[in-house]
Structures are given as C-alpha cells and as structure tokens.
Symmetry: C2
C-alpha cells in the first residue's frame, strides 16, 4: 500500500496527478525492510554478562523437565546430562559451543525473492504472528470466532501493506475442528494470500509431514524448497518454566530435517510461568531458547533457527496475561539485546495491546513497544500488527493502522544523516542572507519531500477544518474503508491452477479455488 | 490519580479493600518524576560534534536578524558583533564561554515543594504546554474556542495526574480579547488550579511586570519568590530562521531580572522555517537557542534557563505543521541529546499528535514520540499530554489517557534491575525443582506486584468477556467518565482568601472566587 493508493482514495484528478509525480521508486522510499536498530540499549555490558551467566547456570544446574527419548539420546551424545530427577541439564561448554556454531546468515525466503527477509545483525523487520481465537468487529466491538476465510483475508491484506515484511499465521481457524485439517488449511490459506515469507505452527509431526508435499509442489521440487524455504516453523518446544513440550519437540526435529527454519519459542509469563523480576524472566527465557538451540543443533548441526524469547507480562492483580505495558517493552527489548549479544538471529513479540479494539490505548501501547523493541535491533518483531486483547483478538483494521505506526518506527530506525549536505549550513546561509527567509520550495526541501519523509496511509494530518469537512473520521473509520477496499480489489492468485489442483487431490483443502473465491 | 482511585471507581467494597492493601507508599511507587533516560542515543559522538560545529558556524557567520537595541548593546559588550546587514553574530569563543558558565543545577519550584522539578543530567519529567485555540469535544469530535474556564479545568486535572510533573499553559483563553487581561488571567487560572510548577508566556513585558505582584503575594514576598520561583517564562525570543522577536526579547530581559527561569524556545518547522534535512533543522535550532542563552547570560549572568529547541515537522505536501511523525521523534530526541551534550537543562516537545481526537492514531504517535524522546534523557517533555491536531486542539480526556501512556514510558526509563535477587536463579531453582512449578503467589511475585509493576488508570486489561460485560468501552469512554469525576470532585483552593482578595483588588481577575467556582 503506497501513499499513492490512499491519496487516490481521497482526492480528485489533481490529487492523483500530484501523488503520481511524488512517488519515488522503491529504492528511494524513505524506509525499507532491514533498516538497522541498535540505538536503544536496554542492557549494559555488565547486564548482558549477568543475564548470560544466570541463563547458563539455570541450564547447567536446573535443566529442563520432560525431554522426549530422542531428545535425551541426541543431547546426551553431545554432552548434556540427565539428572536424577529426569531433568536434562546442559553444561556451560556445550551451550557455548553451540552458540559459536549457530547459523547466522540464513534467509527467511519469500516466494517473491524481492521480499526475502534477512534476519541478522541489527537488521529489523516486522511481521504478524499469534493464535488469536476471535475477530474483532471494528464497528461494534463484538468478538466472534476466527475462521479460515479470516486467515486468508489477513494474508491478502498483509500482502499489500508496505511495512509488514512477513506473514506468520496470526489466528486460529476455529471453523475447522480436526487438527490435521486445520493446520493443512492454515498453511494453504497463508500461501494462497501472500507471497511474503510465511510462518506456521504444527501441533504434531504428522501434520508437518503431510504439508511438505504442498511446499515441494509450490517450490517445484523438494530440492528447490530446501534451497529457498519460504515457510518457517514457529515452535513452542518448551512449556515454561523449563519443561519440554512433547509433540512440539517432535515437530522441531521434523522441521529441522525437512529444512524449515525454526523459530524457537519460549513464551513464559512473568509472575506466573517465569519470575516476576524482569531480569529473572529474561534469564529463564534465554535459558529456554538456548536449550532449544542446543537441541536443534543436536538434530541438524547448524540448522537455521531464530531465537524466540517471548516473555510476556502477567497483570499481577489477576494473573492474566498483559501484552501492552512498559514492562513488556523492557522484557522484549532485553531479549532482543541478548540475541544480538549472541549474534544469533532473534525474533521477539511486540505490539500486543491489552485493548480489545482500535482505540487510543491500542495506539500508545503498540507505539511504545515497537519504538523501543525495534530500536534495540530485534531482527523480527512478531505479533506486530492486528493483535488485540493481549493476543486473544485479531483486527483487520488494526493491521492497517498498525502498519502506519510501524512505518513511523522504521523512520526512526533510519535516524538522522549528518553529512555536510544534511547539516545544511550553506542552505541556512543562503536562505537567511540572500534568499526568501524560508525553506519552502528550496531544492533541498523538494528533494527530501520524496525520499526523506514518510507519509501515513490512514493517519490524518489535515487541519481541524478540513477534517470536519471530510466527515470528522477516526483513524478506525478510515481503516475500515481501506480494509474493505483491499479485500474487494486485492484477490491474488498465488497458487497456479495446475499446482492447486494437485494439492487439492492430495489434501482436504477447504478454501474455494481462486476464481470463485468470494466472487 | 493513583491506581486506588480508579479501582474504587470500578468495584465494590472488596475491590476497595484489595486496592488499599496494594497501594505502596509514594516512595515505593513503580515510577516517579526524574527517572533517568539515556538508553536511546539518536546521535553518535561524531554527530554531536558535527551538529555543534554547524551551530557554531551559523552563529558566527550567519547570525540573527533584528536584534533590539538593548540586545545589541548587552551582547556586543561581551564580544558579539553586528555585521553590515544588521545581523548579530556570535563568535565561537563567546558561545563556548557561555555554555561553560550556564546554570546547571536550578529547580523548577512548585508551590508544594514535594512536587519540585529538578531538570538536570539525564533526569526526565513530563509537562503540558502549548497554545491550543480549540477544545475538542470528546463525544462529538467538534472543535470550539478554548476559554479561561477550560484552562482552569486543565490545571485542576493535571493537578491530580501522577505522571504530569508540571503545568505549562496548554491553551489560549479566547474568551478574553484584551492581551493584558488574557495573560494576567491565564497566570491566575493556572495558579488557582494546581500547586505543580507553572509555565506561562507573556506577549509584552508590561503584562509580566503587572503579574509580578501576584507572584510575590503568593510567595509571601519578592525575596521568597526569588528564592523559590514557582513560575517560569516560556519565551519564543526567536522567529525562525534566525530572527529575534522584539517583544519576546523584552520579556526575556524582564523575566531574567525578575528571577523567573526562562525556557528559551526556538520553534522552527523543518522544510518551512528550518531546513528540511533533519540534521540541518537541529543545527539551526541549536544555534537559535544558544543565541538565546548568550543573550540571557548577557542580561543576568548565570540566569536559570532551559534550552527549548523545538524543531517541528512540516508535512511537505502541504507545508502545514505535523507533530506526530517518526521524523518528529528524531528531531526532538536529537535536540534533547544536544542539550545533554552541553549539560544544560533542556526541554523539548513530544506528544503532539496530528490526530484531531483521541483515536488510535493519537495513541501511536504519542507513544512512539514519548518512548524515544524520554529515553534520550530529555529533562522535560513539554506538550506531553492533551494536545491534538498538531497543537491546535486540546482534549481534557487526552490528558487522562496520555497520562497512562506517560506512566508506561516512565516505567521503561526505570529499566531492568540485574542484581542477584532480580536475576532470580535461586527462585527459578526452587520453583522448578521443589516448588509448585509456577510463580503465582511466590514472595518475590507478591513483593514486585507492589513496587515493580505499574497499572494503568484508564487503560483496560480485562478479558474480552469481562470487557463486553462492562459495556465494551473504549479508553475514551473511560477517560470521559474519569474527567467528569475529577472536575466534579477536585476543586482545590490554592489561593488563600486574603491573598485572593488582594490580587483581585489589583488585577482584573475573571475567574469567580473559589467557593462559588461552578458550585
């Protein structure tokens, strides 16, 4: 969704012409995927080492409960130790060896290679994610069960939003009861709706195994998929505190062997399933994701993996999860910083407002969290758009509004240039001593209008008078209109008919074929 | 407004008891005024020196137009030079001498000394400010002219909001045409409504002179006011680019001699009255505020002053001011960082959304700006609450909602503690190997519930089910209710009757005496 699209929606022919004249080529856009963070540092060097030390001590002396037999076998062969309580403990040297050997330069491929995501260093990207069980009705605020069609709609919307760089499944298709059918259809709906990188979860390796032929068909061959895996596995291999999740561990092994990048998720809740002390929550969570990294490395050495330390916050008055607080921003920023400390690609969660709708609370919670987590240099901010009600609800309009917030945050990542031209001493001299006494129309101003300043899509900057004349709309009103417009117009066909037919022969696909899709 | 106030509003007796049990004493609150920023660094060391160098070059070789005779006389006596074009130029050595000698440890006093603001180092505070000409009707979105009664209401609301640390006049009393009466009544309305530090502007030194007796009466004597000046002058002494404002300069001189701290404001607009290049806008603005500092120092050496570099953004498509963008956050953060580079107290502007109302756009624009500007270590974030429509509108409900956003940002300033207790290795060990396998009810959790976690006042964290049961309210709905409640209940009488009578004998005060105030 470029600026032009919206300007077009708002004005007449003159506005259209002006907008067209002003659209710079993609390479000259004010922001882009992979801008570098790192200017916000939630932890000192001493903090980093203290948390690293605590994580290593937890791994070595507390360990993780409930390892499955294959996990025990693979990890003890490399030096892990099963203690008398049946907990799998990881000696410091083993963990440090794996950190040193971990994959650092893989790509989260997109079916459109121009949309590839390179999560490394301080490069920052934003994506959806989540397991919302409700759709928020934008006008009434009503909550209803989320469906397969909703997931496909979300994929289509994300496909056109400039500042969302990947599409991880953000909601659960509750209209499909059978887990196998649900997960197969989830993957299909994502791939049908967007050519950006797709992330999914599988509850059981059976589903993953059944899905692989779909991926190989789309890629052209298994080898082609392994060369450019355009789907990653989001894997909750651990139930905090420090307990392996049996089926998810099986999926982790299967995904690593199938060549899917794995997001190693540890999603404790400070004060409930991880310590209430923020540093303790970070230490336990880092221990958990490092255990996952060791495990994965024992399955396939150097397998591509993102650390996924996602410590959430409990509202300690109720024990319920809370996703939008300042404490939440600190937790995720600290985890992102730990990931950079290890120089291992890391994705955290940011943008999970506690508001049930698209109101000002949603805005400031998302804004504060994204601003700090992105500027830490998190490689991927998941759950970054559309999530409401502390992850229980999903809002299509939220996607669109949050995309504007993310654009503004990306602009802060770019920062200020301070070369001589930007410092502008000669421009100031010229304007003040020989020029008109203002900078409107100055060549520097005209140039930067195109490549220095980012304009919001549904954010409004008009004067009160103009705004009233246009109907006194909220950003939600405008997002509703744009969302409807996208869903009406953007009906991509990202699965070729022959391949689609072949997939449908093998798997119980429920979305109607593209041509008939909501015609 | 503490958490208790709201819990009381929501629940029955049980809720009240629970809330009372949970309120920690003020010293153990999770956040407080003066928490230190500095973890976000928008500029490198090289950037700081480059911008400093550009500012010095502008001051020395371009200078400022339209100095008044007293300014020329005072400044040239110290080494400034009037060039052939009548521009006052400041040699590098003079500027550096004044920077070295500037006041660094003054207090923005409050009439309640417990509310004093100490703007120094990396200490961060939030306050209102602005010159809004409209009040936003929360329910209809209608804009109407702002009045004296509105200003008094705003002061009363800010008086109870925990995270707003000072009250600078945020709006213009448009029901008073005469400038003299307007400014006298503006000052009176602020002081009647809050005992926090008050900031005002004066358009002419005549008004300032007339106001001084009011301040001396309230303080007890002129000497007492000079010892603890509880009002500061917000002074737009410069019309960017680089042109002195005659009457404001006279006010600057008068305020310095009367002992009022001065906020040296330079409020250019990048792309219109300062360069479109962000670094250039910062360089020109820093040059302007440093010129003000030199000037003030020539009037009263070492007079207390805050640098007020406020470079705004132009939407370059229209030339209109825009206050909520990522570019805006960068500009203010960079200026705040320059202030720290000089180690001179600095107040910038943050929180000036382009939205006309309290919607999600307002939220994310305010959230992103506050998160980054505060974490830079700006000593004061002005315009921090209630401002809408790029400063044209003021919203009472916005004050209340923005206060929650600011609380969350303050929590991020506090950061993570990483002492051994916080790292929690023994807590993890105990819970996982001998305990219940969760942290609910653990002594560490209970302790941190009281002093580690901040709870929003009008922000909602309930589940979708509870939220629907309570009426599916937006944060604006809840803010409307709380605002009405505050205005009904909080009717402070901060001007003693005898002093009030004396002030009214001398000045045309329009607000009715306290007892009859909206009875």
């Amino acid at each position: 969704m470029t600026q032009a699209t919206v300007t077009r929606r708002r004005g007449g022919r003159t506005a259209r012409r002006a907008a067209h004249a002003a659209i710079p080529p993609a390479t000259e856009r004010p922001v882009h995927a992979g801008l570098e963070g790192g200017r916000y540092t939630p932890l000192t060097e001493g903090d980093l080492h203290a948390i690293h030390g605590a994580a290593l001590e937890i791994l070595e002396t507390v360990g993780l409960a409930d390892p499955i037999p294959s996990c025990i076998e693979l990890c003890t062969a490399r030096g892990a130790r099963l203690n008398a309580d049946g907990r799998l403990c990881f000696p410091r040297a083993l963990v440090e060896d794996v950190i040193a050997a971990a994959a650092r330069a893989f790509t989260l491929c997109a079916r459109d290679p121009g949309l590839d995501v390179l999560p490394r260093g301080r490069r920052v990207h934003f994506g959806t994610a989540g397991a919302a069980v409700h759709i928020v009705d934008a006008r009434s605020g009503r909550y209803r069960d989320s469906t397969l069609a909703d997931l496909h709609d979300a994929a289509r919307i994300v496909d056109v939003l400039e500042h969302l760089h990947l599409f991880q499944r953000p909601l659960v298709c509750r209209d499909i009861e059978d887990p196998f059918e649900m997960e197969i259809n989830t993957l299909y709906a994502c791939l049908a709706g967007t050519r950006k990188h797709v992330g999914v979860s599988f509850g059981h390796p059976r589903q993953l195994a059944a899905a692989l032929p779909m991926l190989h068909l789309l890629a052209g061959s298994e080898a082609a998929f392994r060369a450019r895996p355009f789907v990653s596995l989001s894997c909750c291999f651990v139930v905090p505190p420090l307990r392996f999740a049996e089926d998810a561990c099986r999926c982790l092994e299967a995904a690593a062997r199938a060549g899917l990048p794995v997001l190693l998720l540890a999603a404790g809740q400070a004060g409930a399933t991880s310590p209430a002390a923020l540093a303790g929550a970070v230490a336990q969570t880092m221990a958990e994701v490092l255990a996952g990294l060791v495990y994965l490395h024992c399955v396939v050495p150097g397998a591509p993996a993102l650390l996924g330390p996602w410590p959430f916050v409990s509202d300690l008055r109720t024990g319920a999860m809370s996703g939008g607080s300042g404490e939440q921003a600190l937790l995720m920023a600290a985890c992102a910083r730990m990931g950079r400390f290890y120089d291992i690609p890391t994705g955290v969660a940011s943008g999970m407002t506690d508001s049930k709708i698209c109101d000002q609370q949603a805005g400031y919670e998302i804004g504060i969290n994204h601003a700090l987590v992105a500027n830490t240099g998190a490689n991927i901010l998941y759950e970054a758009a559309g999530m409401r009600a502390s992850l229980l609800g999903f809002s299509f309009e939220g996607l669109v509004i949050d995309n504007d917030a993310i654009g503004a945050v990306l602009r802060t990542l770019r920062g200020l240039e301070t070369d001589a031209d930007s410092l502008s001493v000669e421009v100031v001299r010229e304007v003040c001593t020989a020029g008109p006494g203002h900078y409107l129309g100055h060549p520097q101003t005209l140039d930067l209008m195109r490549r220095g300043y980012l304009y919001p899509v549904v954010g409004d900057r008009s004067s009160p008078g103009e705004w009233i004349e246009r109907g006194s709309t909220t950003v939600l009103d405008r997002a509703i209109a744009l969302t409807e417009d996208i869903l009406r117009r953007h009906r991509p066909r990202y699965i070729e008919p022959e391949i689609d037919a072949e997939i449908r022969r093998r798997l119980p696909i429920r979305l109607p074929p593209a041509e008939k899709d909501r015609a």
